[in-house]
Point group: C2
Chain length 331, copies 2
DNA sequence: CAAGTCATGGCAACCGATTGCCATCGCCGG
DNA sequence: CCGGCGATGGCAATCGGTTGCCATGACTTG
C-alpha cells in the first residue's frame, strides 16, 4: 500500500503537501493539487484510516448496540441506521449484546475507543451507566428517555391508544395486556398509555406477566389468557403476540374468533404469520436513520443539542388477528 | 485517558516497559509487571486500539459482508459469526451492501483497511473481484466455492436430495423448482442436486424462473405454478417459498392440499408462517461461526490452509406445507 | 577467576497521517 | 525602493503504542 510519503516522493513534494492536497483543498496550489491527486490515483493510494484517526480521533465509525441481532425488531433499524451512516461517510459497527448487561458493558468497552459516537438500541444498562457512557462519547438512545441525553422514540402512547380504540370499535370491553421485561422503558409506556386510553373509552384492562419478549414468552402466556376472561389481548411486542397466537392455537382457542390479538412494532413476520397480525407499526427504519442523524448532528455542533426526545409516529396496521367480539367465549 | 507514558511516569519506568508488561508477560520482571499493572489499573489505563493497530496492523476487527441485513437468512449467521469473533477477542463489523455489487465494492473499500479479515456472505461480486480482494486480506467465502479461497458451505446437494426423497415418499411425481438469481452459486447447486435426485427416483422436475429471492419474487411465481402441472414445488429459499404460499392462497390454491411447498434455509419465519414451512434447514449459526473460525485459523498460520470447502450438513425439517399428493389437482 | 549466558530495562525508530509554524517569493501600495 | 501581505510549500512535532537493539548487572560454568 502506497503512503503519502511514496506519493510525495513521486511528485517531488513534501508529505504534508500531499496530505493537504486531499484534506485542505484550498490550502495548496490548484495545479499542484491536481498533479498530486493524479499521481496518487495512478499509484492506487488510499489514506490509511488508522493513521488518520490516531492524531485526529476521527475514525468515521459509529456503534449501534442492539440487545439481540436475531430479534427481527432490529432488522429495519439496523438498515436505517446503516443507511444514514453511509450517507454521512461513516461506517456502522453493530454490536450484539445477547440481552446481557455484562456483555453490553464488555462490547462497549471494546468498541468505545474506536467509535466516534454510539446509538443505544433498547439498552439493558441502568440509567446511570448510560450517563457515564454518554460522557465518553456522544450518545443517542433509542426507545428510552433519559433527561439530558438525546433520544429517539416511537410514539407508543398514540399507538397504544389506536390499538385500544380499534378493539373498542370491535366491541371488546375486556382487554388484556401481556407485559414485557420489567426493565423495559417501552413496556411501561405502552401499559400506561393503554390504561389511559381504556379509561377514556370506559374499558377494562388487565395486565398479565411479565413474559420474556420472545416467541416462547408469548407461548407461555397462552394458558393464562385462555383461562382469563379477556376477549382481546395487546402484547408487548409482535414476537410475544405471535408466540401467543401459536400457543392459543395449540389450546384450540381460535384467533381472532375467540380472542383478538394486537402486537407492537410490525416486524418482519407480523405479516406472514397466521392469522396476519394486527399491530402497532413502529417506524423502524426511520428510527434507526433518525437516531444516527441526531447523533451526527450532535457530534458536529459543539453544544449538546436537542433536549426533547424525538417522537416518531406509530400507526395501527389492521390485519387478520382482530375481529368483532364473539357473542360468548367458547367454553 | 491515561497513556502508557502516564503510567510509566507514575511507576518510574520507561514506556516500553509498560507496553511489555501487558503484551510480553515474560519479558519483564514479574514484580515490576505486577506493580505496573496495579498502577495502570488504578489510573484506569486502557490501551488505545488505534495506536496499537497502527504499527502492528492488529485492529482486532473482522468484517462480515452481507447482501442484505434485513434478510432473515443472515440473522443466525451474523450471530454465529459474532459469537466466534467475540470468543477470539475480535469485533465484528457487519456491512450491508443492499444487494448491490457497487455498494459492496464501496463498503469493502471503506472497511478493508480497518479489518484483519473478511467473511463474504453470499457475495454479488465476480469471482475475479473476490480473488483480488482475497489477496489484500484473508478471506472466507460463505455458500460459494472458489478454488484456492477457503469457503464454508451448506451441503445443499444432500439437502436437495432429502427434499426430493421426501416429496417422492409423498407420491409426488412431478416437481417444480423455483429458481433464484442467476448469479447465485447456491441456486446452481440446488438445482443440479435436485435434478440428480429426481433422476435417481425417476421423477420429473421442471425449472421455473428465475425469480427475485424475496417474498415478492415468490408471489410472482404463484400464477406460474398454479398454471403448471406440478404437484410439489421446491423453492430457491424460504422467502420465495413463503411468498409463493401467500400468492397461491390468493389464487385459492391450497397448500399443502393442492400443492406441496418446500423451502431452503429454515429462516426465522419458516416456522411461524402458515402453513408452517417444510424446509431444508441450513446450519446458519454454525455457518457463521465456522466461517469466522476458519478465517482466524487462516490468519494465525502463515500458510493458506484448508484447500477443500468445509461442508456443513443440512437437514430436512418437515412441517405442514407438504402432504401426500391429492388424487387429482383441483380444476 | 575469566568468559559466556541470561534476565531486565531503556533508547529510539517506526507505523502514516495531520497541523502549527516558519520560510520563501511575488506582488502591491505608498 | 521599501514594508507588508497573501499564497504556497516544507519542517518537524504529535497521536500512543510496539519492538529491535543495546547496556547493565547478576549468575553460571569451565
Amino acid at each position: 500500500m502506497p503512503t503519502i510519503y511514496d506519493v510525495a516522493a513521486a511528485c517531488g513534494v513534501a508529505p504534508s503537501t500531499v496530505s493537504r492536497a486531499f484534506s485542505r483543498p484550498g490550502r495548496v496550489n490548484a495545479e499542484t493539487a491536481a498533479r498530486i491527486r493524479q499521481v496518487a490515483e495512478e499509484m492506487g493510494y488510499r489514506a490509511n484510516p488508522l493513521a488518520r484517526a490516531l492524531p485526529t480521533g476521527k475514525t468515521s465509525l459509529l456503534a449501534l448496540v442492539v440487545s439481540d441481532v436475531t430479534n427481527p425488531f432490529y432488522f429495519e433499524i439496523i438498515r436505517g441506521a446503516e443507511q444514514a451512516a453511509t450517507e454521512a461517510d461513516y461506517t456502522l459497527l453493530v454490536a450484539d449484546v445477547h440481552e446481557s448487561a455484562t456483555a453490553e458493558r464488555k462490547a462497549l468497552e471494546r468498541a468505545l475507543p474506536l467509535v466516534e459516537g454510539v446509538v443505544l438500541g433498547t439498552s439493558r444498562m441502568s440509567d446511570s451507566a448510560i450517563r457515564v457512557m454518554a460522557q465518553q462519547r456522544p450518545t443517542v438512545v433509542l426507545n428510552r428517555v433519559l433527561t439530558g441525553i438525546p433520544s429517539v422514540i416511537t410514539d407508543n402512547a398514540r399507538g397504544a391508544r389506536r390499538a385500544v380504540e380499534h378493539l373498542a370499535s370491535l366491541e371488546h370491553r375486556n382487554i388484556g395486556y401481556l407485559a414485557g421485561p420489567e426493565a423495559s422503558w417501552a413496556d411501561g409506556m405502552r401499559w400506561r398509555a393503554m390504561r389511559e386510553a381504556a379509561e377514556m373509552l370506559d374499558l377494562r384492562v388487565q395486565r398479565f406477566g411479565p413474559f420474556a419478549p420472545t416467541l416462547t414468552g408469548g407461548g407461555e402466556a397462552a394458558p393464562v389468557i385462555a383461562a382469563s376472561n379477556v376477549t382481546a389481548v395487546v402484547a408487548y411486542n409482535d414476537l410475544v403476540a405471535i408466540g401467543l397466537m401459536r400457543g392459543l392455537a395449540a389450546l384450540d382457542v381460535r384467533v381472532p374468533r375467540d380472542v383478538s390479538v394486537v402486537g407492537f412494532d410490525n416486524i418482519f413476520g407480523a405479516e406472514i404469520c397466521s392469522p396476519a397480525l394486527t399491530t402497532v407499526a413502529a417506524p423502524l427504519a426511520a428510527l434507526g436513520k433518525y437516531a444516527v442523524q441526531t447523533l451526527l448532528a450532535g457530534m458536529s455542533s459543539r453544544t449538546p443539542p436537542q433536549v426533547r426526545p424525538a417522537l416518531l409516529p406509530a400507526e395501527l396496521v389492521v390485519r387478520d388477528s382482530t375481529a368483532r367480539r364473539a357473542r360468548r367465549r367458547r367454553s
